[in-house]
C-alpha cells in the first residue's frame, strides 16, 4: 500500500511541476534529470535485476535518436507532436535489434556480455560516423524544429521524459511483483542453479534486455527532438552509459527507486559542477571518481544500505528482548514492491 502512495505522490508532484512557472533553465535541468532517471531505471532491468551489466546502452540511445531523426527526414512535423507518437516505434525497433544481440551476448557469462556491449558501443559510433549517406556522419543530422510556443517550449519534452520514466518504473514494479522478477532474482543469485530448477533463464535475460533498450531508445528519440541536431559523438557517447550505470549503482541496483534517486542526486550535481568548473574533462574524472568511491564505500548503493541498517537496528532491538532468536525478525520477501526491493540478508546470517 505504501508503494502505491509513494508512487502516487511522485506522479502528482511531477505532473504538476511545470505549472509552477519555473524558469527555462530549471525545466531544462528537470528534463535531463528525468531522462537519466528513466534511462537508469531502464538499465537497472538488465544491470540490476538480471545482474548483467551492459556497457553499451548508449548505442541504443543513439539508435533511438537516429531513428527519429531519419523518420522525420521523410515525414513531416505539423502539430509538433508526431515525434512523440512515433516513439513506441523507435522502442520496438530497438527491442528487435537488441533481442538477437542479447541472445548471443548473454549465452556465456556476465563478463563476456560486458565485452560484447562495450564493443557494440564502439561499433555503433563508428557506424554513425561512417554511414554518412544515412546519418550525415560527423556533420550530424537535423531534426525539424519543434513548433512549440517559446513560453512553454520545454513542456512537451518534460512530459515525454516523465512518461518514459513512469513507464519504466511501472514495468520495474510489475516485474518485481511477478514471476518475471522472481526469475530474474534467481538468475542474478545463481544462474546455474536457476537453470537447473527450470527457470527460463535465457528467456528472461533476453526479455529484460529488449525492454531495457527499448526504453533507452525512446529517451534518445525525445532527446534528438529536443536538441534538434544529432551528432554521433553526443548521441552515442560512453558518458551516457556511464551516467546510467553510476546513477543506478549510487541509488541501489535491483531496487525500484534507486536509479531515480541516483539520477536526482547526480544530474543536478553534475550541472552544478559544470557551472563551477567549466571544462568537460573533469566530468570524466568526477564521474569515475564518484563511481570508484561508491564501489569501495557503499557498493550496494544508498537504498539497500539504508534498508540494511534499519534491519540491523531491528535485529539488535529484537535480540535485546527476553526471548530473542538468533535471526532477525523475518522481513517480508518478494511481493513488497516499493521500498528496498531486493531483501538483503539480516545482520549475522550466512
Amino acid at each position: 500500500m505504501r508503494a502505491i502512495v509513494r508512487g502516487g505522490v511522485f506522479v502528482v508532484v511531477f505532473m504538476t511541476l511545470p505549472l509552477f512557472g519555473f524558469e527555462h533553465w530549471v525545466l531544462n535541468l528537470l528534463i535531463f534529470t528525468l531522462m537519466y532517471a528513466a534511462m537508469s531505471s531502464a538499465w537497472n532491468l538488465v544491470g540490476g535485476f538480471a545482474g548483467y551489466p551492459s556497457l553499451g546502452h548508449a548505442a541504443f540511445f543513439g539508435l533511438g535518436a537516429y531513428f527519429i531523426g531519419l523518420w522525420f527526414q521523410h515525414h513531416d512535423v505539423t502539430t509538433g507532436y508526431e515525434p512523440f507518437l512515433i516513439l513506441p516505434l523507435a522502442g520496438l525497433v530497438a527491442a528487435a535489434v537488441g533481442a538477437p544481440i542479447a541472445y548471443v551476448a548473454m549465452r556465456t557469462r556476465a563478463d563476456v556480455f560486458a565485452i560484447v556491449t562495450i564493443t557494440l558501443l564502439f561499433v555503433a559510433q563508428t557506424l554513425a560516423f561512417n554511414l554518412d549517406g544515412v546519418t550525415g556522419g560527423a556533420q550530424g543530422l537535423a531534426m525539424p524544429t519543434p513548433p512549440f510556443e517559446l513560453a512553454r517550449f520545454e513542456w512537451p519534452f518534460y512530459y515525454a521524459m516523465l512518461w518514459i520514466l513512469l513507464t519504466s518504473m511501472l514495468i520495474t514494479y510489475l516485474s518485481m511483483r511477478s514471476k518475471v522478477g522472481m526469475s530474474l532474482d534467481a538468475v542474478r543469485a545463481d544462474e546455474d542453479k536457476a537453470l537447473g530448477v527450470g527457470v527460463h533463464v535465457t528467456g528472461v535475460k533476453v526479455l529484460s534486455f529488449s525492454v531495457s533498450v527499448a526504453l533507452v531508445a525512446m529517451a534518445g528519440g525525445v532527446w534528438a527532438y529536443y536538441e534538434s541536431f544529432i551528432y554521433p559523438q553526443f548521441a552515442i557517447d560512453p558518458i551516457i552509459t556511464i551516467g546510467m550505470v553510476l546513477m543506478t549503482f549510487l541509488g541501489g541496483r535491483g531496487t525500484l527507486w534507486g536509479p531515480v534517486i541516483g539520477a536526482f542526486i547526480l544530474v543536478p550535481g553534475q550541472q552544478y559542477l559544470a557551472y563551477r568548473l567549466g571544462g568537460s574533462q573533469f566530468y570524466l574524472i568526477a564521474y569515475a571518481g564518484v563511481f570508484l568511491l561508491i564501489m569501495l564505500l557503499m557498493p550496494r548503493g544508498i537504498l539497500p544500505t539504508i534498508a540494511d541498517r534499519m534491519r540491523r537496528r531491528r535485529a539488535v532491538a529484537a535480540s535485546s528482548g527476553p526471548d530473542a532468536t538468533d535471526g532477525a525478525s523475518p522481513p517480508s520477501a518478494g511481493g513488497g514492491g516499493g521500498g528496498a526491493g531486493v531483501p538483503v540478508p539480516s545482520g549475522g546470517a550466512a
Binding site: G51, P53, L55, V104, A105, R107, T108, R109, A110, D111, V112, A114, I115, V116, I118, T119, L120, L121, F122, V123, T126, N130, D192, P238, I242, V245, F249, G279, Q281, F282, Y283, L284, I285, A286, Y287, A288, G289, F291, L292, M295, L296, P299
Partner: protein, 292 residues
C-alpha cells in the same frame, strides 16, 4: 592479389603489438578472473609517457621502454591494491569489471587534463620511413614493433615458465585453491599479476605511439579490439591470445587494404560475434557451464 599480401604483411606485423597487449589482458583474467577494461587505457597512458619522454627529453621511445615498464608495473600494482583488493563480496566478479571500467575512465579523464585532447603521435625521424622488399612495403616502425613484441613476449614466456613467480602465476590460473594450499599467496600473486599485465602495456604503448595518432579517448577502440582478441583466443590463455591477435589483426588489415579502412574496424566485432555463436570458449579456453 598484391593488396591481399600487403594486407597480410601489415596484419602480421601489427599482430605482434596486439599480441603483446592482449597477453597482458588475458593474463590478468587468468589470475584474477577479472576482465581488465582498463588495459586499453594503460596502453594509451604508456604511449603518452613515451611521447612526453621523447618530446621533452629527446629519449627515443624504444629506449624508454624499460623506464615506462617499471612505472606501469608500479601503477598496476597500486590500482589492484587500492581498487580491486578491497572488493570482497559475492558479486566481486561483476564489480571488478565495473571497477576496471571506472579506472579506465579515470585514467582517460586524467590524461585529457594533463595532455589535452589533441591527437599526439611520437614522431621520431624513422617514424615514416619504410623498406620495400619484393615490391611490398615494410614500414620501419612496424618491423621494429613486431621485433619488440616478439622480444617482450619471449621475456614474458621466460618469466612465466622459468621463474618461481611465473610458476605461482600459472598455478593460480589453473587452480587457485590448490595453489593457495601449496603456499602460493594468492593476494600477492593477484597484485603482482595485475602489475605485470599493466607492464606489458608499457612496451606496447611506446610502439602504439609510433604507429598511430592517439588521444585520451583512443582507449575505447583499443579495448574493444583487445577484448575480441582475448575472447577469440580463450579467456586466460596467453598462447591463445597471441594466435588470436595474429588472426584478428591480419583479417582486419586485409579488409582495410582490400576493401576500405572504415570496414576494418568491424572485422573484430564480426569475429567476436562469430566466436560467441560457434565456440564461445574461444580457441583455447575451457568450457564453463556450471560453477562446480
Amino acid at each position: 592479389m598484391h593488396a591481399l599480401v600487403q594486407g597480410v604483411i601489415l596484419g602480421i606485423l601489427t599482430g605482434g603489438v596486439y599480441a603483446l597487449m592482449a597477453s597482458g589482458q588475458t593474463l590478468i583474467f587468468g589470475i584474477m578472473k577479472v576482465v581488465n577494461l582498463a588495459q586499453g587505457a594503460f596502453v594509451i597512458l604508456a604511449a603518452y609517457l613515451s611521447y612526453t619522454l621523447f618530446s621533452s627529453f629527446g629519449l627515443d621511445p624504444i629506449l624508454s621502454i624499460p623506464l615506462t615498464t617499471v612505472l606501469m608495473f608500479g601503477l598496476g600494482v597500486v590500482i589492484q591494491l587500492v581498487f580491486l583488493r578491497p572488493l570482497k563480496r559475492e558479486d566481486s566478479a561483476q564489480l571488478s569489471l565495473l571497477v576496471t571500467f571506472a579506472v579506465a575512465l579515470l585514467l582517460e579523464g586524467v590524461m585529457s587534463v594533463v595532455w589535452q585532447t589533441t591527437y599526439r603521435s611520437t614522431n621520431t625521424d624513422y617514424a615514416n620511413s619504410s623498406w620495400t622488399l619484393f615490391g611490398f612495403q615494410f614500414t620501419v616502425v612496424r618491423v621494429i614493433a613486431f621485433v619488440l613484441s616478439l622480444i617482450a613476449l619471449g621475456l614474458l614466456f621466460l618469466l612465466l615458465n622459468r621463474t618461481r613467480f611465473g610458476r605461482a602465476v600459472r598455478a593460480t590460473v589453473q587452480n587457485p585453491m590448490s595453489a593457495e594450499l601449496l603456499g602460493v599467496e594468492s593476494k600477492r600473486v593477484a597484485a603482482l599479476g595485475f602489475g605485470l599485465g599493466a607492464a606489458t602495456a608499457a612496451a606496447a604503448g611506446s610502439v602504439y605511439g609510433l604507429l598511430y595518432p592517439f588521444n585520451s579517448g583512443s582507449h575505447y577502440d583499443l579495448i574493444s579490439e583487445l577484448l575480441s582478441i582475448v575472447v577469440l583466443g580463450g579467456l586466460g590463455s596467453v598462447g591463445g591470445a597471441v594466435i588470436a591477435a595474429l588472426i584478428v589483426s591480419t583479417s582486419s588489415a586485409v579488409v582495410a587494404t582490400v576493401f576500405s579502412p572504415t570496414w576494418s574496424s568491424f572485422t573484430f566485432f564480426v569475429i567476436l560475434i562469430l566466436v560467441l555463436l560457434i565456440r564461445p570458449q574461444g580457441l583455447f579456453g575451457t568450457v564453463e557451464r556450471g560453477a562446480l
